[in-house]
Structures are given as structure tokens and as C-alpha cells.
């Protein structure tokens, strides 16, 4: 499958694709000029396009003044009125119409939220249609192809004044005590949900916030859609991980999942375990992990709390994807490991302690002090400390050499003092083992030093040999030239052959 052929499917790539030719020629300024373009217009909307012809809106009577008999009819008319879309990029266009729609939406929201008995069956299709027409749209290409959610301001949805009210209406509609899932499920179907999920890619955080709450309610009320929703979220994540690396709503979706996982029945279904192993754990590889790491870690811990047997999968998965060069991510991984260790069962801890503490030792010796510091903080956690103490015989030998070495070598004074504390803790835990390890460490160190000395001697020997050899060769060449010059006059003589000096005998067993 040629996923590389997919670019236009990721909102960022078409933009990059046309900045490329110029970037080749005039590298350095497309980025800044992009930014400038962004500042000019940080609102975007592709909503308006679908409006074929503009309709003039006329204000309808207020809902609250309507006689009961006409209430539903009027409600319906207002819903239809709200299906008209307006151009918000042109902020002065049709101000009157915009105001009428805003007022109508406000009324609808209030009516659904406060009065009972409004939601009768014939209104469902109208309401869902109004919602669909307003919120479902192809999200516009990102204004900023290198959009970094942590650094840059998001592009906001221009039609938000209306859109917000539509979302608000939808939410109230779902939360209304009159809401009947059996009626709604005919209109809120799989296609509807799929479009709803696609909107999570919106760059506007306000929109994603609404979507999150709404999807949560839909999941809660429409049981028939649950499996489908989970599956589609899976697909979004898999595509995010392996194809596009771009999706704005990962954190929001994970937040919903957190509460979904919370409600999983025991024993866990194969589907859910698969989701953990094949989706949640690989999500840790994402470049933009920092944006959704808190939510992701929460989901992972939820899984563990549900079923302790998945612990080993999780830890081994994290170790497999442990960041090799990105220290910022390493700190996040360490944070997640601590969250996991906080709730780990001692029996599970024993199963993963070896690979885990090898990694922790590696982190302690990281030259980046934040990584080392984060790892050393584990020893401030009482529960973790008790686990370490129980398994001191295994763990101490794994980390001892690192602790000892780093305590002597680390450039950062805070790290050195933290390590002293850790060493002290270990000494108090098991002084016998500690002393043994100290002794063997010193022996090992001596051996290492000896090896090092031998190695450097060997190199020196080789260098001397090479130098002597070069001397001999130049001498030989000179002699040969002399010989040739002389041989013009005198009969040919045997060429002078210089013997090479012997190699230093130490070289017999080099230990590079």
C-alpha cells in the first residue's frame, strides 16, 4: 500500500506541496511569509460554500409567545430557518439574517433546555437535519502547514457565533429529559457519527470541546452505536499513527475513551485488549505526544486498574517504544511509568522489574538532567520505594553500577545529590548487598582501568611502529633514487631492501 501517495488526505500536505518548489529556490522565507499570511486571516471556514442561493430570513414570532397548539409547528419552522448558512468571512454580509438566525438558535436552545414536552417525534428529523447542515463540512486546509498546537495559535472557526449555538442546541437536545434514544437512533446513525468524528480534526479547541461532550453523550445514550464508535476511533488513531501523523482531536477522543474504558466489563474482551496493544501503546510513538500524553496515560492506567494482567503488555510496549533521542518525550514516558507503578500489583511488578530497571538505569545516566532527575524521583514515591525494597536483590545489582558511576561523573549538582540520597536509601535497605556490590564494582573498575591501559599502550605501540615504518620507507626511497642515479654510471646492483621492524608483541590479543 502506498501511503506516501496519500498526501492530500492530510490537511497539511497540499500546503506543503506548494511551498516546496519555492522553498527549494528561496529556502528560509516561506515559513515566515506563511506566518504573515496567518496573521492577516486567522479565521477560516469552508462552511459557506454549500449554500447554493441566499435566502432572505424573516423573523418568526417568539416561541414563548406561541399558543401551545402552534408551538411544535413554530419550533419546526425555526429549525428550518436555522438551516440557512451565512458567510462569516465577510463579516458585514447579511447582518440582519445572521441576527435572526442567532436569535432563533438562542430560542431553540432555551426551549430545549427549559421547557418539557417540546421534543416530539416529528421534530427529531428536523433537528438532526439542522444540526447536520450546520456542523458537517469538510474542514478547511490548515492555514499553517507546520501548525504546532503547542506553539501556534489555532485557526478559529469564523462561523463560531452560530456554530456554537448549534452545538449548544445539540447538547441540550441530547441531555433533555424528553430525549428518546429509540427515536433518535433512526436519525443519529453510523454515517452521522462518522461525520461527527471527522470534525474532531478541527483546529478550533472550542469546537473540539463541544464535540467531546456531545460524543460522550451519544455514546452514553445510543447503545447500538457504541461498537461502531469505538471502531471508528480506532481507525482514526491508526491512520494518525501510521499514515498522516496529523489529527487535532486525539486528546479529546482519548478523554472520551478514558471514560469508556472505565466502563468496560470484566473479563476484558479480546477487542479491548487488541485496542490497548495495537492502538494505545503505538500512540506513544507519535511526534506530537506531548499534546495528548496526559489523556493517553490516563487511558493506559485505566486499563491496568481494570485488569492487572495487561500490565506486562503495557510496560514492555512502553520499553519497546522508549524514545531514543527525544528527551522531552523520555520525561513523559517516565511520568507515565510512575503513574503505572503507582497502581501496579506487586506480582506484576516482579514480572517486569528487570527490563524496566535497566531502562531506568539508562535514564539515570542520561546527560540531560531532567531525564535523570525524573527517573530519580521514583525513589521519593513511597509505594515504588516499597516495591523496590521488596525486590532489592534484583533491582540493586541492575542499577548499582550506574548510580555509582553517575554519582561521580554527572555535571549537574542536583542529580549528584539525588543519587547520593538513592544510594543512601539502598545502603539502609540492604547494607550487606550494598557492600558486596561496592566491592565488586571496585574490582570491576580496576579491571576496566587495566584493560584501558593495555589498550592505550597497544595503540601507542602501533603508532610508533607506523612511524618507524614510514621512516624506513622514505629512507628506502631515497636510497633507491641514489642507487638509480649511481647506476647510470656503474653496473646494475641489487636493490637495497630495508627490513621492517617487528610489530610490538602486545598486539597479539587486541581488545578494542
Amino acid at each position: 500500500m502506498e501511503t506516501t501517495k496519500l498526501p492530500p488526505s492530510s490537511p497539511s500536505s497540499p500546503t506543503t506541496s506548494f511551498s516546496v518548489p519555492s522553498a527549494e529556490k528561496v529556502d528560509g522565507f516561506p515559513r515566515r511569509s506563511m506566518r504573515r499570511a496567518r496573521q492577516r486571516r486567522s479565521h477560516s471556514s469552508s462552511q459557506f460554500r454549500y449554500q447554493s442561493s441566499q435566502v432572505e430570513l424573516t423573523p418568526l414570532p417568539l416561541l414563548k409567545d406561541a399558543p401551545v397548539a402552534e408551538l411544535h409547528d413554530l419550533f419546526c419552522k425555526k429549525l428550518q430557518q436555522c438551516c440557512v448558512l451565512f458567510d462569516f468571512l465577510d463579516c458585514v454580509a447579511d447582518l440582519k439574517g445572521k441576527e435572526i438566525k442567532r436569535a432563533a438558535l438562542n430560542e431553540l436552545v432555551e426551549s430545549v433546555a427549559t421547557s418539557r414536552g417540546v421534543l416530539i417525534e416529528p421534530l427529531y428529523p428536523e433537528a438532526i437535519k439542522m444540526i447536520s447542515v450546520n456542523i458537517f463540512r469538510t474542514l478547511p486546509p490548515s492555514e499553517n502547514p507546520e501548525f504546532d498546537p503547542e506553539e501556534d495559535e489555532p485557526t478559529l472557526e469564523a462561523s463560531w457565533p452560530h456554530l456554537q449555538l448549534v452545538y449548544e442546541f445539540f447538547l441540550r437536545f441530547l441531555e433533555s429529559p424528553d430525549f428518546q434514544p429509540s427515536m433518535a437512533k433512526r436519525y443519529i446513525d453510523q454515517k452521522f457519527v462518522l461525520q461527527l468524528l471527522e470534525l474532531f480534526d478541527s483546529e478550533d479547541p472550542r469546537e473540539r470541546e463541544y464535540l467531546k461532550t456531545i460524543l460522550h453523550r451519544v455514546y452514553g445514550k445510543l447503545l447500538g452505536l457504541r461498537a461502531y464508535i469505538r471502531k471508528q476511533i480506532n481507525n482514526i488513531f491508526l491512520r494518525f499513527i501510521y499514515e498522516t501523523e496529523h489529527f487535532n482531536g486525539v486528546a479529546e477522543l482519548l478523554e472520551i475513551l478514558g471514560s469508556i474504558i472505565n466502563g468496560f466489563a470484566l473479563p476484558l474482551k479480546a477487542e479491548h485488549k487488541q485496542f490497548l496493544v495495537r492502538v494505545l501503546i503505538p500512540l506513544h510513538t507519535a511526534k506530537s505526544l506531548s499534546i495528548f500524553h496526559a489523556q493517553l496515560a490516563y487511558c493506559v492506567v485505566q486499563f491496568m486498574e481494570k485488569d492487572a494482567t495487561v500490565t506486562e503488555f503495557i510496560i514492555r510496549g512502553l520499553l519497546k517504544y522508549w524514545p531514543k533521542t527525544c528527551t522531552q518525550k523520555e520525561v513523559m514516558f517516565l511520568g507515565e511509568i510512575e503513574e503505572i507503578l503507582d497502581v501496579i500489583e506487586p506480582s506484576q511488578f516482579i514480572r517486569i522489574q528487570e527490563p524496566l530497571f535497566k531502562q531506568i538505569a539508562a535514564c539515570i545516566s542520561s546527560p540531560h538532567f531532567q531525564v535523570a532527575e525524573r527517573a530519580l524521583y521514583f525513589w521519593n514515591n513511597e509505594y515504588i520505594l516499597s516495591l523496590i525494597e521488596e525486590n532489592c536483590q534484583v533491582i540493586l545489582p541492575l542499577v548499582f553500577a550506574t548510580l555509582y558511576r553517575v554519582s561521580k561523573e554527572h555535571w549537574n549538582q542536583t542529580i549528584v545529590s539525588l543519587i547520593y540520597n538513592v544510594l543512601k536509601t539502598f545502603m539502609e535497605m540492604n547494607s550487606k548487598l550494598f557492600d558486596d556490590l561496592t566491592a565488586s564494582y571496585k574490582v570491576e573498575k580496576q579491571k576496566e582501568l587495566k584493560r584501558e591501559r593495555e589498550r592505550s599502550e597497544l595503540w601507542r605501540g602501533l603508532e610508533e611502529y607506523e612511524e618507524r615504518r614510514m621512516q624506513m620507507l622514505t629512507e628506502a626511497a631515497r636510497n633507491q633514487r641514489n642507487l638509480q642515479e649511481r647506476s647510470l654510471a656503474s653496473p646494475r646492483r641489487q636493490l637495497f631492501v630495508q627490513k621492517l621492524p617487528p610489530l610490538p608483541c602486545k598486539a597479539a590479543a587486541p581488545s578494542f
Binding site: 500500500m1 501517495k5 529556490k25 499570511a37 469552508s46 486546509p141 462518522l194 499514515e243 503505538p282 519497546k320
Partner: protein, 576 residues
Amino acid sequence: ASSRCGEDSHGKLYKNDTETQLYSLKMYSIIHIFYSSYHLWKYTIYDEDEVLLALAEQLGNFTMLVGGPEYVHCLLPPLESLATVEETVVRDKAVESLRKISQEHSPVDLEVHFEPLVKRLASGDWFTSRTSACGLFSVCYPRVSSTVKAEIRQHFRTLCSDDTPMVRRAAASKLGEFAKVLEPEYVKSDIISLFTALASDEQDSVRLLAVEACVSIATLLPQEDLETLVMPTLRQAAEDKSWRVRYMVADKFSELQKAVGSEITKNDLVPAFQNLLKDCEAEVRAAAANKVKEFCENLPEDNREQIIMTHILPCVKELVSDTNQHVKSALASVIMGLSTILGKDNTIEHLLPLFLAQLKDECPEVRLNIISNLDCVNEVIGIRQLSQSLLPAIVELAEDAKWRVRLAIIEYMPLLAGQLGVEFFDEKLNTLCMAWLIDHVYAIREAATCNLMKLVEKFGAEWAQNTIVPKVLGMANDPNYLHRMTTLFCINALSEACGQEITTKQMLPVVLKMSNDQVANVRFNVAKSLQKIGPVLDSNALQTEVKPVLEKLATDSDMDVKYFAQEAISGIQSLL
């Protein structure tokens, strides 16, 4: 053993069957070792995607190592498992290797070993194996029996309506390729329905891949079927509600145009292209703008001019003042190409105003794209027409804050100079060329010296002597040592073009004088320059003037000066 491909090299060695068997046995042991080490890789230490990627790639070249085509099928199991991993690059590589070794299977082996693997992948549980299967159908289809062919078609059909969008995307991206290996009757009966379904998929990421397939499918069908089988879908794609799909149509427009032929282009694609040029998303407009020249070039000749003038040009005019700079810059990179198509009169009347508007655009990229393509227009109307309007733009760009823009302008100087002639150049551009010599970016100074050389080649030594050389030599007394070095670099570049007389009489004294410079960098560049201009000087000058100076430099206190002086002495040795 008769079908062994190692026959040429090994075949003669086997006198009887026993030897052949022995050989096979050896091969199998190699295969065994290979397998066990493979399992070691896969399941123990190196479960790293990078390693798996390398493995997937190498296995594609393993045919000879496992005993030739007869045994190539033993590479299938490891590749099969690599084709199911999650990491896309690994999977793609495994599929690539599988495609490669599929060609080395005999038709029998293909049915016995390869095709079952494709089927297994196609019906795998996890989406990864099914996506991989999509890439394998087209390589085995042409070489299997008709019953197996029917099965393969069925599998492909199933994957096109797979549950997961990832698989549908994979199928859609291979649709065109698969259509090419199918018998024509099946293209009509099978492919068209799949194509239509994928092109109206609920996910835009699938729909846009169908657009790509559209190109191959359209080329496979006879002209009379296109209208009914392909065009409805293509029309729909050009007006898709997702900009990504429209972008794809715009991006593939030239290919589509060639595939559907001139008649449909005239009736359908011209209005579609107009719409894309007016699309509400800048991305789509930019993609379409990029295709303007190609599209026009490929229009049927008989009424090309009329179509362009009445349909395309009005849209192009609007794009010139588009709100989005990327659209304008995409247009600027191709718009000059239209002049060759439209001819001199139309260019002057209709295009020239557009070029000039773009030359004055606020965005430097747009201006640069126009300047970079001047030669197209030059062929049609000659640059003089443009020069008056060009000049302000050039002067402005020559002082642009971005050095790469300045660099691009410098590179066009010799062309402009050639077109404009000496007088115009002296009057308007000479000062610019000299100003670049003292630019604060080295790359600009370097390009400026190179530019001077090309100018001298064009205008001749006499011109150089009167205009450039005095100014260049004047810089030798500049307080800034970088400028003094520029003098040397200019001399290096110019000496040959200026000839012996100017070099000996005017340049050499300056260089020699600079050997007393207090900055070591200048001194060793003097040494380098002397070596460089050596071939232009006569041996008398070398002997009496150059050599003594170099010998003096060879005793300099600075190590580098000494080194380059010695280099230069041995360099000019042969000239003496």
C-alpha cells in the same frame, strides 16, 4: 533440477541425481540457518522497525542466496510476516520485495506458493495484512490460470469494500494498476463498478485515490465508453464537497486530460478546470494554477487559442490578483509559458499586463518566479519589450533583504545583459553589479565575481578595461580586508577573459602590492591568485615579478601563507 537457474554456473557440475540432491540438501541447510536466524531477529533482540525494514528490503534480493528461482518460495514466510507488521514503511518494503520475487516464481510455483499467500493476506484478521494484499494482486494475476484469476478478482472486490478505510485506501491506490493487468472485458464489468463505489466512498481520503485510478482506467477504455463509464464519476470528483478530492483532480489534471482525449476535454474538462481555478480553497486554486500551462499546451490545436482566450485567460487574470500568495506564486511559475502558446501579438496584448502586474507583486516569491522564467517570453517577444517595466522590479529585488532572492537575480544578469546590450546595461545595471561585490553575504560576493566574468565574456575585454577593472582594482585599498579579498577573487575570475595585456599591466601590480597586506588571509590569497593568473602572464613577468614575491611569501611568519606560497611556486614552476 533442469529448471534451476543456476544451471549455467552450476549445472555442468552435477553428473547425476545424487549430486543434485546433495546440492538441494545444502541449499536447505542454508535455508534452515536463514530461518532460524530470521526467527532470532524477529522475536528476540532486534524487534526494531529499522531492522525489520532492512530485512524486508534484503529478502527481495535473496533469490540466488537460497538456491535460485526454484527455491525462491522459501522467502515467502518471512516476507509474509513482515507484510503484516503495523509500521507502514516496513510493510511497504515487504510488499515491494514480494512483488520483486513474484517475478522469479515459475507459473506453477506462483499458484502453489505465492497465490495462497496473497489469499491468506487478503483474508487476514488485522487490516495490515489486507492492505499488503492489495499490492500483490496485480503481479500474480497475469501469470495464473483462469480459475485462480477469478478468485483474485473476487478478493480484490472484497477488499474494495472492506470495513476499514485503511484497506479501502490501499485498494483504491492499486485500482489503476490492477485494471491494467485485467482483460478488457473485466475492466468494464468489474473495475468500473469498484471505481464508482470507491469514488463515492464516505471518506474523502478514499475518494481522492479513486481520482488517481481514474487516469489509468480512462486510458484502458475505448473512447466511446468513457462518456458513460468514467465521466459521471470524474465530473462528480471535480465538484466533490471535500477540497482534498478537488485538489487531487487539479493535481492530476494534465494526466486526466491526456487520458480522456480532446473531445471530452473540450466539452467537460474546460469548464471543470475553470471551476478549479475559481475554487473557494486556495490549495485547490494553487494546484490548478500550477497546471495552467500544461493544460493549455495539451488542448487540441484547432481551437486551442480560442479556448484559452475565452475560457482560461479570464480566470488567469483573476488569479493574478488572488488573495493568497501561494496561488499567485504557483501561477507566476507557469504563466510565462503561455506566451509560446499564444504567440507574439496575444502575449503583448493580454499576457504582458499580467506579467507586469506579477512583477510588481508584493510577494517576493511571485516576482522571483516571473524573473526566473523570463527566457520563455524572451523567445516570443524579446526582452526589450519588458525591460522598462522589468527594471524597477529588478532593482528592487537586487536589494531584497533575502540573499537568496539577490542570488537569483544575479544569476539572471548575464541573460539580461545579453538581451539589453552594453549601453543599456552600463546605464542601468552596472552599478548594481558592482554593489553586489561588497554585499555582506559571501555567496553573493562570490556570485557577483562570477557574474562579472560572464559579462566580460559577453561584452569583451575593452569594455572590462573601461568599466569594471578600475572599480575592482580600486577596492584593493579598501579598509575592509573582505573587500580587498574580493578584488583578488575578481582578478582570479577575470584574468583569463581580460587577456594578457590587461592582466600584466593593470592587475598584476595590484596583486603584487597586496602581498604586503597586514592580514594573512589577504596574503595567502595573493599567493593563490598569483598561481591562478600565472598561465595568463608571460614567463618574463613570472620570473622577474611573480617569483620573487612568492619566495618572499614562502618565508612568511604565517603558516598558511607559507603553505600557499609554496603551492604556488610549484604551480608556476612548469610555466617558467
